[in-house]
């Protein structure tokens, strides 16, 4: 049963998925989700990937660093254009790239104001120009800590995406019709619908960006840090590790249960012998608790039976070693009273309340009572259980004694 249950659970492991995406965690009517949707609807996609980089020459504003950054812009723009019509290309999710190259710089000349790219196509031609640009960048309140670090050692490439913000075109809405019953109909008809993206989409996007920016052609000038969100790291590393851990824990659990099952059944077989109907018919049956859930009117080895009603007395079974148990188990469990050693005044009482327990095996002599319990561990109590010591003997020994 356990194996079947575990197999059933294990069958679900390949479907195990890891997610941090709000859309996967929250229901559509969750207040957090509603407000997120509203922001997306009003202001567009809000998923941004920030890629910090370190210039190899140590100067963020050098010709080399800014030239490399400019080149990255061009490559990313091309990739985004190429991926726009290909759903399998994650670059298609890239909507805008921002860095020192193209961040907005407001320039006032006389009465005219101009919004232009900070660097654009005009790379510095000399170290002096680089320092001039650096000075200008420092004076812009929206640049420090946004586009370059406090210590000027790192720069930032901001990649804006349209994840979850690509409007569904009419054809796609038509396709959804009928499948998403009433869901869309119930919503405001004016409310735009968006293509749903999950963590996997983001992870793939992040991975493609990371792979591209790690290429030697860029790495020789700008070394990019690993993405901070690490979505693909989660998918590729965590999910795999979780799956491994799950499989291992299932095996360990199985092994644990098996060991526990062996030990427990052995233990119960040795020590927990339960009596059923011992007080009523005076003929009862012993069984191992691991196999049957009898009511606990038990004789526990080394302990006293306290629940045997109707005047039954405690019966003390000897605790026997595992070595004895093994041999005795093969010969079935039997015990009989042994009044030897008791004070003389208790002998009669002991014999009068004779208790015998034996395994009714094929070929054994039926004593007239045990026949009804063929194959079980049976005992017969002529009267009540008593406090007489009980000796555990093998079936063969018991019957040999009977013969003699």
């Amino acid at each position: 049963m356990y194996v079947i249950l575990m197999s059933f659970l294990a069958a679900g492991i390949p479907r195990f998925a890891f997610t941090w995406a709000n859309e996967d965690m929250f229901a559509k009517d969750d207040p957090v989700q509603i407000s997120q949707d509203k922001i997306r609807e009003l202001f567009g996609g809000s998923v941004i990937l920030g890629m910090a980089y370190r210039p190899v020459d140590g100067d963020l504003f050098s010709v080399r660093s800014l030239g490399a950054l400019q080149n990255i812009h061009k490559v990313l723009d091309e990739e985004a254009t190429n991926g726009a019509d290909n759903p399998d290309n994650s670059f298609g999710l890239l909507s805008e790239v921002e860095s020192l190259i193209n961040t907005t710089y407001i320039e006032v000349e006389g009465d005219s104001i101009r919004f232009r790219d900070f660097i654009g196509e005009n790379l510095p031609q000399s170290p002096e120009q680089s320092r001039l640009l650096q000075g200008q960048a420092f004076k812009e309140p929206e640049y420090p800590r946004v586009l370059f670090s406090d210590n000027m050692k790192y720069g930032m490439l901001v990649l804006r995406t349209n994840l979850n913000a690509i409007p569904l075109v009419d054809d796609e809405l038509d396709l959804l019709e009928g499948f998403v019953e009433n869901e869309i109909e119930e919503q405001d008809e004016q409310k735009p619908q968006f293509v749903e993206h999950g963590l996997e989409d983001y992870a793939n996007f992040e991975k493609q960006i990371w792979n591209l920016l790690s290429e030697e052609r860029f790495r020789k000038d700008l070394v990019f840090m690993h993405p901070s969100w690490g979505a693909f790291y989660q998918n590729d590393v965590w999910a795999v590790e979780y799956q491994r851990a799950l499989v291992i824990s299932l095996f360990l659990s199985l092994a644990d249960i098996s060991v526990a099952g062996f030990t427990t059944s052995g233990d119960l077989a040795n020590h927990y012998l339960c009596v059923k109907h011992c007080w009523y018919s005076r003929t009862g049956r012993l069984d191992r608790m691991a196999h049957r859930s009898f009511t606990l009117h038990c004789i526990r080895t080394g302990q006293c039976c306290r629940n045997c009603r109707r005047g039954t007395r405690n019966v003390r079974l000897p605790v026997f070693s595992s070595a004895e148990t093994a041999s005795q188990r093969s010969n079935a469990f039997c015990f009989q009273q042994n009044c030897a050693g008791l004070p003389a005044d208790q002998h009669n009482y002991c014999h009068r309340n004779h208790v015998s327990l034996f395994h009714q095996a094929a070929g054994d002599t039926d004593d007239g009572t045990a026949g009804r319990y063929r194959g079980d561990l049976c005992f017969r109590a002529d009267n009540y259980f008593t406090s007489c010591p009980v000796e555990l003997v093998s079936s063969a020994a018991f019957h040999n004694r009977q013969k003699t």
């Binding site: 207040p31 957090v32 922001i39 407001i106 929206e142 901070s228 009511t295 606990l296």
Partner: protein, 268 residues
């Protein structure tokens, strides 16, 4: 070997239970009281970055972002007015500034930056005023604000439309934060939501449809915290029920099964 070891262990435990029942009961009762006292002090605080080892490249970047950039945390405040042009009103824009200042005053160690349409407005204003630092402000003259917005619309509309809706009736405030855990997120949410509402109250007369919602990363964290708590309660309840049923099944007695459940709750 393992089998005999476990068997020996079980026998030892068995012996201990039978030979010293009072001690065992006392020990578990005392442990139980300690555990109950401990339960009262349980806190759930999920810090995303701490899922990664300190050597992990992801963790290193998160640290870099927190120390040298704006951090990786985020909070969004969505402000809706139902009134077209509301965010051209200097009074509304100055109230946004008040919210920003309050956040930076109360949480200087957490809030690293604040993004609203005011940022562009102030910068444009400053540039027009000979780039004087003291001009990095929201003008109080509605006409000047409108003129500035017209300039921005013509020059840098993309950045503007990320912060305010086309008809200027809704706007957002995007707050950059250093890495915070779910516990802090819940605390922030509990404090920020009512306080921002309080700051916005004076605008309600002019804009009765005004409402605000705190969302973004912080809202998600708070929601996740709530979800985790309830999930744990449900899991615990289900485990308790299943264990109870198993115990009742094993012992074949409702009474004894329920009694046996008690020590099992210690493990939970």
């Amino acid at each position: 070997m393992i089998l005999s070891f476990v068997q020996g262990l079980l026998k030892g435990v068995n012996k201990l239970s039978f030979n010293y029942p009072k001690f065992v009961i006392f020990f578990f009762a005392a442990s139980g009281i300690l555990l109950i006292l401990g339960i009262l002090r349980i806190e759930i605080d999920t810090v995303f970055s701490e899922y990664y080892s300190p050597e992990s490249p992801v963790r290193q970047t998160i640290n870099l972002m927190d120390e040298q950039f704006l951090g990786v945390g985020n909070m969004e405040i969505l402000i809706e007015t139902e009134t077209e042009g509301a965010f051209r009103d200097p009074e509304v824009l100055l109230t946004l500034e008040s919210v920003k200042q309050w956040l930076q005053t109360v949480y200087p160690e957490l809030v690293t930056h604040n993004w609203t349409l005011n940022n562009q407005l102030k910068q444009t204003h400053r540039k027009l005023m000979d780039n004087r630092e003291e001009a990095y402000t929201i003008p109080e003259d509605p006409d000047l604000v409108s003129q500035l917005l017209v300039l921005i619309e013509g020059g840098d509309y993309e950045d503007l439309e990320r912060m305010v809706s086309l008809d200027y009736s809704n706007a957002r405030m995007s707050v950059s934060l250093k890495t915070i855990g779910s516990k802090k997120s819940v605390e922030l949410l509990k404090v920020i939501q009512p306080e921002v509402e309080r700051i916005l109250v004076p605008l309600k007369e002019k804009y009765p449809g005004l409402k605000m919602t705190v969302t973004g990363g912080i809202g998600a964290w708070a929601r996740i915290f709530d979800a985790i708590s309830w999930s744990q309660i449900r899991s615990f309840g289900l485990a308790f029920l299943i264990i109870s049923l198993i115990m009742v099944g094993i012992f074949g007695s409702l009474k004894l099964g329920l009694v046996a459940v008690v020590p099992n709750t210690f493990r939970c």
